[in-house]
Amino acid sequence: MINVIWLGFIAIGIIVALVTGNAQVITDAALASADTAVELSIGLIGVMALWLGLMKIAEEAGMVRALGNALRPIMKFLFPEVPDDHPAMGAIVMNMAANIFGLGNAATPLGIKAMKELQKLNDEKDTATNPMCTFLAINTSSLTLIASSVVAYRAAAGSTNATEIIGATIIATIASTIAAIIAVKLLQKLPIFNKTEKEAVQKN
């Protein structure tokens, strides 16, 4: 899936550009995007170190585990494959809380921390597990209740009521998150997405 999409972006993009005589913009875009990607990754290091450091303290103090336990019924439904008391649960709860309250800077490092914990439970290190896919889909569906950057853009553009979109945004956010959960839970049962896991079982 990801291979087809990735190739699709590049192949369609370059073919369209060649047909329309835009070859130079492709070169510029490719080089500029590669630069941006490195800048973004390096830019994450500081904030990531901060949150991974705090999370280590929280973990050793038993806070991460307690957080996971606090929401156990929901977490058990969303991530049945993750054992009780596993630190992944606490990290996931913290990532979701940060997302809901719009703390984007904290949400990404906490989400990466959660992925690292989920990876410890993974037998096949290059293949996503069910809990990883569920966690990712929920994150890509957006959990943020107050879209503060959109409100700021609206205010800057001279809106008379910049916050009036919040109610509608919350409804759409909830709908997309529910759709994400239903979609992962159904798709993970499909044989085409299951194949690699079966192979892993056979190898063991």
Partner: protein, 178 residues
């Protein structure tokens, strides 16, 4: 009221978390400074690990965006989205949203300039932008950080969520503001 409450939380949450975690750890006899540096060590390697994944993703999306292929996609998809009550003007933003957060915000600001933030188009773009995430960026960063290459059903599930979120945004905006 609710907005005020959420804004207050957003402002105070981080300082309080940075205060409470080390204090609680200290009470629990954790060597807080040592534990912090031990955890923070991973920050650098994680950032560097993400680089190849993000380069792959952003270069592909960058090429696609620059080529003008999105305009062609808009003309193909707009007859369908019109049926759902989505004006053709907001479609480019909807298609851009999962690919590039900055790109989508750029289109949204153009729509604000052309039609005004309080027009139906301006409101719809706002709701769409606020209720979805940059799916491919999240995928590259989160899976990249742990070296996941085979993404299984994560991408289709994420895209289904995007479509549902965008269409809900259209319906709700038409219902509330038309």
């Amino acid at each position: 009221m609710f907005v005020k409450f959420m804004e207050t939380i957003s402002v105070y949450a981080i300082p309080l978390i940075i205060l409470i975690i080390p204090i609680y750890g200290f009470i629990k006899k954790v060597k807080v400074y040592e534990a912090f540096t031990e955890g923070a060590k991973e920050g650098f390697t994680t950032g560097v690990t993400i680089i190849p994944y993000l380069v792959a993703m952003l270069v592909a999306i960058g090429i696609f965006r620059a080529s003008g292929a999105l305009d062609i996609l808009v003309s193909v998809v707009s007859p369908i989205t019109n049926l759902f009550g989505m004006p053709a003007e907001v479609l480019p933003m909807a298609l851009m949203r999962p690919l590039s957060g900055g790109g989508a915000s750029g289109i949204m600001n153009d729509l604000f300039t052309t039609y005004g933030p309080d027009s139906l188009i301006g409101r719809m773009a706002s709701v769409m932008n606020g209720s979805t995430e940059t799916t491919f960026y999240v995928l590259a960063v989160y899976f990249g950080a742990v070296g996941i290459k085979k993404t299984r059903h994560a991408v289709p599930a994420g895209l289904i969520a995007d479509v549902v979120g965008l269409l809900t945004a259209v319906f709700v905006t038409n219902l509330m503001f038309k």
